[in-house]
């Protein structure tokens, strides 16, 4: 269930927004999210609606150094 993919907000118009998916653009509905969205935010979209805002760092797949996996 729940196929949801990340997109980037390009434009906000009331309860709708235009989201970018690697170059493709689609209008999405933002009425199911309480957070204030702004241009450049990365969001998760399911069935045409934004369901969550993603942290930009995670969404852009940051390669900053972090600890490695702990070996048991």
């Amino acid at each position: 269930m729940c196929l949801a993919i990340p997109g980037k907000i390009i434009l906000i118009k009331e309860d709708k927004a235009e989201a970018d998916f690697m170059g493709a653009r689609k209008e999405v509905n933002i009425s199911l999210i309480d957070l204030k969205l702004k241009q450049g935010d990365y969001v998760l979209i399911h069935a045409g609606f934004v369901i969550q805002k993603l942290s930009t760092k995670d969404a852009k797949n940051s390669l900053d150094a972090h600890n490695k996996i702990v070996i048991q």
Binding site: I33, H46, A47, F49, S55, I69
Partner: protein
């Protein structure tokens, strides 16, 4: 590749016995997955833990997109022999009872235009599928979003939307009902089914790979009442591997925690606005699940406030006349397969009379159904 962030989960549990306050701090490892050597690293860790655990372990994933991800990346091929990844009833099309399919097909054949999400139109019932009805002249629309249904309603005022899906998808239907759409609700809540599976399921479940996007809506706290090791997991290969690793670690350490691997999208409280919207429009009640039977508090029924848009009320004259014989259901083992009690190959119809081109049941129709995925891999 996604970076999984550090999550501090402070659980304050007040132990009144002997006036002791126990502060539990669970620190979760930070993972940085760069390249193949790191996959090998996680897989080595999984192998090490599996050897220590020794006995067979059943991990159930309960989300069709996880079923797909596991197949897509060939993750089963990488699992040690004693670790079984079982597919649970996370495919909403698969768990829709045949009576609902029969009802919608009957409405369609009676001339009512029907809109629904993709795969649903191919599920066969006693009177055929929605796609078969379309062939006989019924108006059937396979849509991507309820917004399309609202648009279609302008040309087809008596359009009925066949709403199915879990906590991730019910808010969209709730929104559409508030905007005037007539809906036949087959929506369900997933969490009650997880408890049901633990108590009454046909398989022994040692841990759950929790559904990533249901969790985006409900948050992490909601799972605390489910008595099993759980990891809320994302959908990339590394997410699933890390999720499996964390589950095995819990099992080995005899813990039952709710851990969040999908921190980039899932927060403790989830998306409260979307979640609350469900209950502004729906009420929970008994839910009828194909194969699992009746699960209390798992069905979403449109509340009296929105009765005028409840297709079950509006068209009760047609719906009450339908005789459900469940002919199609008789030999189909989908109900067992969606609980992980049987593998697709154990159904006598699998790949013989039942194929994706000529499906007998929803497990073969839906691209998230266990039989469809098994057939294609």
């Amino acid at each position: 590749m996604p970076t999984i962030k550090l999550l501090f989960n402070k659980t304050l549990s007040l132990k009144i016995t002997k006036l002791k306050i126990v502060l539990k701090i669970r620190k979760f490892e930070i993972w940085k997955i760069k390249n193949m050597s790191d996959y090998k690293n996680i897989i080595n860790n999984i192998n090490t833990l599996a050897k220590k655990i020794i006995k067979p372990v059943n991990l159930m994933e309960v989300c069709g997109t996880h079923t797909q991800a596991i197949s897509r990346y060939g993750i089963r091929q990488l699992m040690p022999a004693n670790i079984n990844l079982i597919t649970g009833p996370g495919c909403p099309v698969c768990v829709t009872d045949q009576s609902d399919i029969d009802n919608l097909v009957s409405l369609a054949l009676a001339g009512i235009p029907i809109a629904t999400y993709g795969d649903t139109i191919k599920v066969p019932g006693d009177f055929g599928s929605l796609e078969d009805a379309q062939r006989k002249g019924a108006k059937i629309f396979a849509i991507y979003s309820v917004e399309e249904a609202l648009e279609l309603k302008k040309q087809h005022p008596d359009l009925v939307f066949f709403g199915l899906g879990f906590e991730t998808t019910a808010p969209m239907t709730a929104y559409a009902i508030q905007n005037g759409l007539t809906v036949y609700s087959a929506h369900k809540l997933f969490l009650p089914a997880m408890t049901h599976l633990l108590k009454n399921g046909l398989t022994n479940i040692d841990g759950f790979i929790n559904p990533g996007h249901v969790s985006v809506i409900v948050g992490t706290e909601a799972y605390n009442k489910i008595q099993a090791p759980q990891v809320i997991t994302g959908f990339e290969a590394e997410d699933v591997l890390v999720g499996i690793y964390l589950l095995l670690k819990q099992i080995h350490e005899k813990r039952q925690d709710v851990e969040n691997e999908y921190t980039r999208a899932v927060t403790e409280n989830g998306n409260a606005k979307a979640y609350n919207l469900i209950f502004e429009v729906f009420e929970s009640g008994d839910g009828l699940w194909r194969g699992l039977g009746m699960i209390p508090n798992s069905g979403l029924k449109i509340s009296i406030k929105y009765q005028a848009q409840d297709a079950k009320v509006k068209y009760q004259n047609i719906l009450n006349k339908i005789k459900h014989t469940y002919k199609k259901n008789a030999a189909c083992k989908c109900g067992h397969i969606i609980q992980g009690a049987l593998k697709p190959q154990q159904c006598p119809m699998f790949n013989t009379v039942c194929t994706p081109d000529k499906p007998f049941g929803p497990c073969m129709v839906s691209s998230e159904g266990a039989c469809n995925i098994e057939y294609n891999n």
